[in-house]
């Protein structure tokens, strides 16, 4: 029977190789960096900078993109050595990762904490050790814990989405506007909803139906299905998050409804492709940049090398950089697609 056994072995090996090949999920092109490859004086190699990077587990597309974009950005600079430890949602472990960076005497730490408050003590410790800490997205609760902070604009997302809905529904005062929020108890969700409501109020509209999902595809499908049951007629929907938006779109397709347009949130590549092709409910999305980590890497490098921020007059790297939440439509989608994240 050796022959049969060999055949089996070959079959098993082939299957193994095939399966391994199937795990390949690498996106073709991660954007980021100076658009159009413009080289500026700040990009000239300087003193070597060792940067430690830590973020929560990449359990959704946006978070995965944060780490990928940060790594890609660091790879562009010959004077940056990145020590990226992969994400964890266990604060105890993330603290020990930062402790390892401190032991290693890195020059800078770019930290997207799982929980800003919980990572504050160890960030303080790093700052005391003379390490430049750049805080990304989720803020520490002490101003001494970071040299500089990179933030998105949750309130601004709501404002941008609301303003766009107002523009499209101009004059329709009886329009039904629906909102599919993310995890409702999070401050960021409350900020987004507040901005949305206030922008709508500016043109005499209000949110007629509001449901909340949990940033996951499954929860988005469930919330949208309920929403579509509850509201017979809808003119516009704002969905806070494009990752859960995959589920929302599925529910809309299942219902066969098309009387409304939809605005997304965060800015995933597949929603942008849908906007570009104009073949789905999404007509726009508002961006919550997944390149914050990458910007954190750049700021860390500049701060350590004592450089200033390019086009500003100010000599030092700013204390806080808050990113804008632009509306992406068919007209400008090509500008944002390269830095969008794959969900």
């Amino acid at each position: 029977m050796p022959h049969k056994r060999t055949t089996r072995l070959i079959a098993a090996l082939t299957l193994g190789v095939a399966l391994t090949a199937c795990t390949g999920n690498t996106p073709q092109n991660q954007g980021g960096g100076n658009q159009g490859g413009v080289r500026v004086a700040n990009d000239e190699p300087g003193k070597k900078v060792v940067i430690g990077f830590s973020a929560p587990a990449a359990d959704h597309g946006w978070m995965a993109a944060i780490s990928n974009a940060a790594k890609a950005e660091a790879g562009k600079y010959s004077d940056v050595e990145l020590r990226a430890v992969e994400g964890t949602n266990d604060v105890n472990l993330q603290i020990s990762q930062v402790e390892t960076f401190i032991n290693d005497k890195v020059d800078a730490i770019v930290l997207l904490p799982f929980d800003g408050a919980a990572l504050t003590p160890v960030a303080l410790k790093a700052m005391k050790a003379g390490i430049t800490v750049i805080n990304v997205d989720r803020q520490f609760d002490s101003p001494f814990a970071a040299r500089s902070t990179v933030l998105g604009d949750n309130y601004g997302m709501g404002v941008s989405a609301g303003t766009y809905v107002c523009e499209r529904l101009k004059g329709k005062t009886d329009a039904v506007v629906a909102e599919i929020a993310g995890i409702d108890s999070l401050p960021l969700t409350q900020d987004r909803s507040k901005g949305f409501a206030e922008a709508l109020a500016g043109c005499g509209l209000k949110v007629s139906n509001r449901v909340a999902a949990e940033f996951t595809v499954e929860s988005g499908e469930k919330a949208a299905a309920n929403l579509l049951q509850a509201a017979r007629r809808i003119d516009a929907i704002w969905n806070h998050d494009d990752d859960q938006g995959v589920g929302v779109t599925a529910a809309i397709k299942n219902s066969g409804r098309s009387e409304f347009f939809m605005v997304g949130g965060a800015g995933s590549a597949n929603v942008m492709r849908e906007i570009k092709a104009d073949n789905g409910p999404h007509k726009a999305t508002v961006i919550y940049p997944s390149t914050q980590g990458a910007d954190g890497i750049r700021l860390a490098r500049l701060a350590v090398q004592n450089k200033s921020l390019g086009d500003l007059v100010e000599v030092e790297v700013p204390r806080q950089v808050q990113l804008y939440a632009p509306v992406v439509t068919k007209d400008n989608v090509d500008r944002y697609l390269p830095t969008a994240f794959e969900s």
Partner: protein, 343 residues
């Protein structure tokens, strides 16, 4: 190291002559031998660390980083060793840690602590943890609910309660003296590590040198025989779960100290980490055989693994795969040894 009745009985049944020609397996099957295997595994891991990370691994600061990371989960694992040795299982430990951390850091608790002493926080966490364990134990022993189901219910309920109490917000501790006490070091050893060492030593004495310990082995090995021998099996079971609950409360205090926060997200998946550490340590999941020393080695193996992976920029995902492989190998080895020593 551990007085382990099952193995002792097995050795007594097996004539010494039978060991002829399998000296090594006999050695490995003895309690000391099982720990030898763990020590070898730990040494191999450390060698791996030294080879791949050199001075960055073999450094006092790095050793302390590993030990601090091990301390919190280590305390939970010592408690878990008692419950598993006693023939039970507890899936709710992570949730109990979260609930204790939240309850001990509410504004009310902190208010009282501010007026009196920070020890109130410690006390509250221990009481909450102990009470949760008491509920688990009572449900299992007197309500005759299967341990797996009872603690699964507690897992859901305790974390839900933690979310309700904290309103899903992170609670920051501002009680003077609390953080200072736990951040301190005794002769260069961080207080958290000292606590872990004390708990492990106390656990070893309790399991191996007291009536309570002998009863635990008896209850786990054969509850019917234990009952006939005059042990109140149900009351003992309640004690075991309460003890684990207290350990969870203590772990919550340590986590609060490490993060200066209480949060409903603390202690995520600690149940799996603790059970894994206990099982690779050589404690039988079916009960009746348990070793505190093995558990401590189990915890150290996993945390050292985390550390080596962090130092080498390897992903958490790859680490999870390695963890899984270690558990499978350890259990396969255990089964083998159990079969041989029983032959």
């Amino acid at each position: 190291m551990s007085e382990d009745t099952a193995a002792v009985a097995a050795r007594e049944r097996t004539p010494v002559v039978k060991d002829n020609g399998r000296g090594i397996s006999a050695l490995l099957a003895s309690p000391a031998g099982r720990n030898t295997g763990l020590v070898v595994a730990l040494v191999l891991l450390c060698l791996g660390g030294v080879v791949t990370a050199g001075d960055r691994f073999a450094d006092v600061d790095n050793l302390l980083t590993i030990l601090r990371l091990a301390a919190v989960i280590g305390v939970v694992s010592v408690g878990m060793t008692f419950v598993i040795t006693g023939g039970g299982i507890d899936l709710s430990v992570g949730a109990i840690v979260a609930l204790s951390s939240v309850w001990a850091t509410t504004l009310a608790t902190q208010g009282i602590a501010n007026d009196t002493h920070w020890i109130v926080i410690v006390f509250t966490a221990l009481v909450v943890g102990g009470a949760c364990g008491l509920v688990n134990g009572t449900l299992i022993a007197y309500g005759r609910v299967v341990a797996f189901i009872a603690t699964l219910a507690s897992l859901a309920a305790a974390r839900g309660l933690a979310e309700i109490i904290s309103n899903r917000k992170t609670q920051i501790v501002n009680v003077p003296g609390f953080a200072a006490f736990f951040d301190a070091s005794v002769l260069g050893v961080p207080v958290l590590v000292v606590i872990f060492a004390v708990v492990a030593a106390a656990g070893w004495v309790l399991l191996n040198r007291t009536t309570f310990g002998r009863r635990t082995f008896a209850v786990g090995g054969n509850p019917e025989a234990a009952r006939l021998a005059g042990i109140d099996v149900r009351r003992h079971t309640v004690w075991l779960y309460t003890l684990l609950g207290l350990c969870c409360g203590l772990a919550a205090v340590m986590l609060i100290a490490r993060t200066t926060t209480g949060s409903a997200t603390h202690g995520g998946l600690y149940e799996l980490d603790a059970i894994a550490a206990v099982v690779i340590g050589g404690t039988l999941l079916s009960g009746g055989r348990g070793t505190i020393a093995g558990t401590v080695f189990g915890v150290l193996i996993f945390t050292t693994l985390s550390n080596v992976f962090t130092l080498n920029n390897l992903s958490i995902s790859a680490q999870a795969v390695a963890k899984g492989a270690i558990i499978v190998v350890a259990v396969l080895l255990q089964q083998r040894l159990a079969r041989r020593s029983g032959a």
